[in-house]
Point group: C2
Amino acid sequence: MANGPSPAMIDTTCENCMIRHRAVCALCEPDDLVELERIKTYRSYRPGETIAWAGERAQLVGSVIEGVAMLSSTLADGRRQMVGLLLPSDFLGRPGRTTHAYDVVAATEVTFCMFRKAEFERLVTRTPRIERRMLHMTLDELDSAREWMLLLGRKTAREKIASLFVIMARRDAALNQARPRDGLRFPLYITREAMADYLGLTIETVSRQISALRKAGLIEFGANRMIHVAEFVRLIDASGDDAGGGVRA
Amino acid sequence: MANGPSPAMIDTTCENCMIRHRAVCALCEPDDLVELERIKTYRSYRPGETIAWAGERAQLVGSVIEGVAMLSSTLADGRRQMVGLLLPSDFLGRPGRTTHAYDVVAATEVTFCMFRKAEFERLVTRTPRIERRMLHMTLDELDSAREWMLLLGRKTAREKIASLFVIMARRDAALNQARPRDGLRFPLYITREAMADYLGLTIETVSRQISALRKAGLIEFGANRMIHVAEFVRLIDASGDDAGGGVRA
DNA sequence: GCGCCGCCTTGATCGAGATCGACGCGCCGT
DNA sequence: ACGGCGCGTCGATCTCGATCAAGGCGGCGC
């Protein structure tokens, strides 16, 4: 994700867009795309760069084309919790709200297909297809958020790490059309800090539990931040979720 | 909420419905309401009754008219986490999914305005107004879920209890149009178990922290499960959220 | 009235994860 | 080559909330 094509190499026609059939524009007809192309712009951010601050006036909305961005909330004394991840095709910005509700930070190099908020909303209002698509995407996000609530509220540190790895492995397998027979590899792009923020842990606990999983033989470290999972089922068991036998990609 | 009018007393015309302007039908035109009235039915559940099991085929969808229902997830070994609350006007059932994703249990006596799923979806497909309304409701739920993620991941037991009370107090104040000057009362309908499931705690910790808040003078117990908050600002401080001075209802 | 049962409270102890502190390793700029 | 810095690891200790255990209180049926 972090080392895909550079922004300059992105095909800027909607027809050829990498996320054409998964993003907010998935249900659009050719006519709609003409409209979208008229008002869209591309914008990239460096890893660690802040894309928006919570409370800030939201001028832009848009879809992630590639890379990963993090949504997080912060308590007055600095405790931070990640509340969402924006992956390619995910949408940033909420119709009917004028400010950002969360801090948005680039986790990797990330590129957005952006629209001026007002123009986009005008277009949405007269294009129910976009609204329908947004509804489905929002429902999916709500499901993810609720799954994460279970993790945050009830899972042990070990289960949290295993759950994260299961998700990353599945995502990577889906992306690369790889069949997760036995033996599965995926890259660990994010830092311990990002994992800790995501899982509601400290970085020390994240580090210790990853070591514990390695010592227990559930994972191995490869070169270049690759994680190798010999028996995916054992990782799923360690994650606390049942779904026991069936290895879904 | 638990002791409002009985189902039999509910006015069954959409025009006079208590949630007419807040529910999924809020944007509907009179013509749409005729359609809805044709396919809707009312259904009530007793406190503690299970409305749906996770994984079960979803036949019905609908809005809460009155009462409260809880959505929760369960881990294989029985650990449970509440992932959502359905209050009057909230919608149960997800378009495009054939099974329930969570257990749904009545927290109080609860009455739904329900539709056969297939019929409702057919209607939605040709009524973008309903879709737009669902989108906004889903976005609100997503915000609540994310706020809850911050609570589950980063707040202390004490802050969790205080946060819950702040929310309940605000909700009650909003419902009764009461101005939260100094001195604010609200009823504590739910059990310690429900609070524990919601907050990611055990019932013992819930009990102890409520006692601690009482001993610290932040809350007092009245008759009939009423909680009295003398200085709302102190409760907000204890909740960990800033928003320090401004007392919003 | 009496006893039971569900819900709640409180105490004692335990343990997972936070906190504090030290250090290792790789990368980058000079 | 060297030093500095960001990131990760690991050990020691502490602490908050879980766990285990013992009642209390109130409503309800008999």
